[in-house]
Each structure stands twice: as structure tokens, then as C-alpha cells.
Symmetry: C2
């Protein structure tokens, strides 16, 4: 069972200004001014109908630049070791990335997004609508993340990206 594999087809590609990992913010909230384009391959474009009516979407993508797996790791936001499943680090066993981005518009098979924290050329494997009903959870316990103040999170979460830090 542990050696079982599942395979998914790449359904598109994410285009962004981020060409270097170390200059790529780690989460959309640290990339408010970063615009991107999500190109969905034409054969899947019909699946986008009505998506432009949602303000936010999940992008699920393959972290193609992640070459390594570690079960214990220090997250970007804190100098303490945690289990990788307690973090959003790319060094997880399966290199799957999840971002909630703002959807600014759609041009045919291309989605215009804001909060692009994704390396240019990243293969896309799924898109789901963010739903207030399902996903907006007022959690109180956020583990080690509660130990990180907002200013530290901002400084570390931006990595070495140089931008205005503000959405237009």
C-alpha cells in the first residue's frame, strides 16, 4: 500500500514574474501586488465556465522545483523544527502546492490572478472555487503559527522579493 502511486495529468501552467525560488513569496498574503496568469490548456477550458463569479480560487499545483523530501523541517516563518505536515513547506513527500489566490478576471482559457506566490512555469493540476460556506473557518488554534507575529511573518514570507507590498 505504501508504494502505491496515483498519477494526474497536467491541466495548465502558471505564469508569474517569479523566476527564482528565493525571490518568490511563500503565500498569497505575502504577495498582494504579484499578478499572474493561469493558462488552462484548451482541452480543459470548458471546465472554467462561471469561475469568474468567484472572488477567490484554490490553485493546486506541482512544486516542480522541489527536489527534496524531509519529514522534519524548519518552516520559512520560524527557526524551529516541525513535522513537514505541520508546515506548508515544499519539502513534503508529495510536492503538491496549494494557494488561495484572488481571481481578477478571465480571458478565455486564461485566469488573471492576484497574490501569485507561484514560480513561473509551475504545472497546474486542479482549480477549485473558494467557498465562504466551506472554507472560511474561524480557527483559534494555529499551532506554531500562533507564535509568529505578523511583522516577522511578513518579513520572512516575502523572502527576498522586492515590490511595493501593496495591491494596486
Amino acid at each position: 500500500m505504501a508504494s502505491e502511486l496515483v498519477s494526474y495529468q497536467v491541466i495548465g501552467v502558471v505564469h508569474s514574474e517569479h523566476k527564482k525560488l528565493e525571490e518568490t513569496p511563500i503565500q498569497p498574503i505575502f504577495a498582494p501586488e504579484c499578478k499572474g496568469r493561469v493558462e488552462v490548456f484548451p482541452e480543459f477550458a470548458d471546465g472554467l465556465r462561471d469561475i469568474e463569479l468567484f472572488s477567490h480560487i484554490y490553485l493546486i499545483y506541482h512544486l516542480h522545483a522541489a527536489k527534496e523530501t524531509r519529514l522534519l523541517t524548519k518552516p520559512f516563518l520560524q527557526d524551529k523544527v516541525h513535522g513537514v505536515f505541520s508546515t506548508r513547506s515544499p519539502v513534503r513527500p508529495n510536492h503538491i502546492g496549494l494557494s488561495i489566490v484572488k481571481l481578477a478576471g478571465r480571458e478565455g482559457n486564461v485566469l488573471l490572478i492576484e497574490g501569485a506566490d507561484i514560480l513561473d512555469g509551475t504545472p497546474l493540476i486542479d482549480i477549485k472555487p473558494y467557498s465562504k460556506r466551506f472554507d472560511n473557518i474561524p480557527t483559534q488554534r494555529n499551532g506554531w503559527q500562533d507564535e509568529v507575529d505578523d511583522a516577522t511573518a511578513w518579513a520572512r514570507g516575502r523572502r527576498s522579493y522586492k515590490g511595493s507590498g501593496k495591491a494596486e
Copy 2:
């Protein structure tokens, strides 16, 4: 490019009371009383360190019972056709499921969850912590979902599951 595949290893299995698809609620909010167990295979168990300090987690899993793909589909909650990426339907090109469940505890390599909307025996491919900082987004535009009132959503989202409807 469109025929490119990515492969992931199954890292565990979700155990729940749901043995039949048609009696499985479609989202955790429609399954408050449904408890489940997420078994992470022992070779990945170190990755769980500190996860019990988060109140909620994302489970990313393979919708192994979904055999079909449709780009246009009616979601469970509404009798209108939408693009599949505007829905959370299992009939998407890649059968990837995403649930935000409440984490009630951890026993070694097993996570005790509440809000289990997942078929028993579902292969697990990733776990990520839900973070208020990253994921709690006060959206205002939720597309077609805004047309569905809460009572209708509850009735349809439960499918034919018979339970108390209340967390203990």
C-alpha cells in the same frame, strides 16, 4: 505539455463510517458528527510532529471512487450546469479531493478527525495545516454558491446520510 503526468505516492488512508458514496456528505460542514481516522503510514509518521496543535487541517486525497470526468456538470447543491472547476465535484479531470477537517487528536501515526466527509478507504496524498493567517478569507463573491440558501445546502450536502446533524 498537455499529456504530461505527475505521480504521487499514497501516504496513508482515511477511515470513516462512510461505505457508500450516496450516503457520504459532500463537505465537512455537512458532516459535523462524522468522526474519522486518518492513518498515516509509519514511514511518514515523523512528518506529523506538532500537527495536533492545529485545530483544523487540510486533507488532500485521491477520489478513488470517481471514475468519470466531465468538464460541465451540475454540482450537488444546485440544479444548474457549471464548469467543473467552478464546483467541488469529484468528476474533475484529476480526481483530487480537498477537505478541511477538525483535528480532535493524534494517536501516534493516526489522526482523529471530525467532519469526515470522505469515503472509507480513501488514499491520502497530503496533509497541510489550516492557517488563519493564510486561509481564512472573508470572500464576498462566491459565484453560484451565493444563490443556494443554507437550508437547501444542508439538505443536499448531507445526501442520504442519516445522523444527528450535530457534533457531540
